[in-house]
């Protein structure tokens, strides 16, 4: 019942890009240094995010990545689902409703459906912007003397 490192790092990468969301392309080298994750591993992660249409990339010298949309237009749920495939707590729910013959009589199925709902509702209720805002509150920068 764990989110993989790819999911966690993807979230940090997206937040990093959101923090530096100037329209410029940010290199993986920069992100790697700030987030302490190797460029090679980040490459795997951005491949998924770019294919999902979440990032724009620029090859060549001074290339890099930037967000395709505004930070408020990404839910944390969709970012995690790109990396994890889905956030269903059991395999039965991955392509529900499916052909399981026990579904009608399955006592535990409604319970698992409910668990899936609280998880997905929660992660869908946060956006990159939400987390950025709570971050600046955390740092208290706004009110520092």
């Amino acid at each position: 019942m764990k989110i993989s490192t790819k999911g966690r790092y993807a979230l940090r990468l997206m937040l990093d890009l959101a923090e530096h969301n100037t329209g410029e392309y940010i290199s993986l080298k920069d992100i790697s240094e700030r987030q302490n994750v190797t460029v090679k591993y980040l490459e795997q992660i951005v491949t998924s995010l770019t294919r999902a249409g979440f990032l724009r990339s620029q090859r060549g010298n001074n290339g890099g990545y930037r967000l395709a949309r505004h930070p408020s237009e990404y839910t944390i749920g969709e970012i995690l689902r790109v990396m994890e495939g889905n956030l269903e707590p059991i395999a039965c729910l991955e392509n529900y409703p499916n052909d399981c013959p026990r579904a009608e009589e399955c006592v535990t199925l409604p319970f698992w459906i409910g668990l899936s709902k609280v998880i997905n509702d929660y992660v869908n209720s946060y956006t990159l912007q939400t987390l950025l805002d709570s971050a600046s509150e955390l740092a208290g920068n706004t009110y520092m003397i």
Copy 2:
């Protein structure tokens, strides 16, 4: 982000024992036939549940297992946590608060703590009895003509 088969089967095993909660000891052979899980695999599962004090066992001929408490006194959360170790969505939270030096400044930590809370609150809000009751409603036995 998946509950293992051990967690899922443990829940079905506990529900099976709750349905046949007459005070008699129920053999794994019976449970195996009803739940379609091998006796050998069930043995592994009951070992954990017995050591956790959730089951009483009786060895020898006509032996088996029964619940140690009333079905209303088991939350689904505690059953799953025995089998899974814990239900934390990321490793950082397994022994939180811990020594992570980034905790203070970690933007994502409060988000993960919130996710852990909705998951654990949900699974703690159901008991074996709750599921049994919804099962009999599902079957509609009470009101059948």
